[in-house]
Amino acid sequence: MTTPLQVTARLRDPVTTADHIRGPADAAVTIVEYGDFQCQFCGAAYPNLHELLRQRADTVRLVYRYFPIANVHPYAERAAETAEAAAVRGRFWEMHDWLYEHQDQLDPVHLSLGVEQVGLPPDELNAEVENRAHADRVRRDFVGGIRSGVNGTPTLFVNGVRHEGGYDLPDLLAAADAAANA
């Protein structure tokens, strides 16, 4: 007897203008990352994704979606909501980069300093995060991820298909080039 429903690993929520996107709109390859700002594996992948975008500037774009595993990473949700508060002000990627470059400083005090370094008003952002103003957006990303087969962080989808390889630069380059030539 066969199982009527299969566990799938395809991106179900298509990329829209509401997403946080870095790279050319007409890129042949779209990489969607589901990430957790407090996850060390996401932190390890961060510079490699950066370098990938630099080396494949014409062909690859990166989409970032929130996937905080809050029960394991106590600062992840707050970091995600802070990034979204920055996004509302057009500063998502600056905040994103700061978070991954300061993963040991995600506690509220240091996070406020980070917001300030990014050039945003910390008290204003804090208040929004305290009021959970951006919780729905983070939750929406998370639920879309879990419905798409995200089973940990980081999970990447390369042109809609879950990336099963590693996150070192050669792995990422190979995956992106294969998708570009498919």
């Binding site: 799938t8 639920v143 419905r147 089973n151 962080t153």
Partner: protein
């Protein structure tokens, strides 16, 4: 005895059982949750050395399970003491059941026991009446995620709507 037919398949009545569970070692089993869908998540062992392990993932997805009024029960052959420490370290609030004595008996009855002495990584979804509606066997080292579970829960909800209509 393990089920010679492998993992329990849709359409079968879920074998009843209770096992000691977190947080306090009280006995928990699927029959206590009749009227709600129940997700049995068999897994090899506590303490897998990764960030997004399967049980942590299900805890983080608790609000989504709640939307379906679904109950999640994690089951492995670890003792209640291991389960407790594991649940505490990962912030897992749903019950982890200790299939510890006789070892793996429940896993065997569901066809989810491995010869090396651990539960398989197997997902079994029960409908509110306690009938298996979906099951899935994952390789032990692959976290199956939760997408298959939510597809099964969607299907259940759709079927119930048809019945009610």
């Amino acid at each position: 005895m393990s089920d010679p037919n492998g993992l329990i398949q849709p359409g079968r009545t879920a074998p009843g059982f209770t096992l000691p569970a977190t947080p306090d070692g009280g006995l928990i089993g699927p029959e206590q949750f009749r009227g709600r869908p129940v997700v049995l998540a068999f897994y090899p062992a506590d303490w897998s050395p990764v960030c997004g392990d399967q049980m942590s993932l299900y805890q983080s997805a608790a609000p989504v399970f709640a939307q379906y009024q679904a109950v999640v029960l994690g089951i492995s052959v670890d003792s209640i003491w291991s389960h407790r420490a594991f649940a505490e370290s990962r912030g897992i609030e749903f019950p982890l059941l200790a299939d510890f004595e006789p070892k793996g008996e429940v896993a065997r009855r569901y066809g989810a026991y491995l010869p090396q002495g651990e539960a398989a990584r197997a997902l079994v979804v029960l409908d509110p009446a306690g009938t298996v509606t979906w099951s899935y066997l994952s390789p032990p080292d692959v976290n199956p995620g939760a997408d298959g579970i939510f597809d099964a829960l969607d299907q259940l909800a759709a079927d119930r709507k048809v019945m009610a209509g």
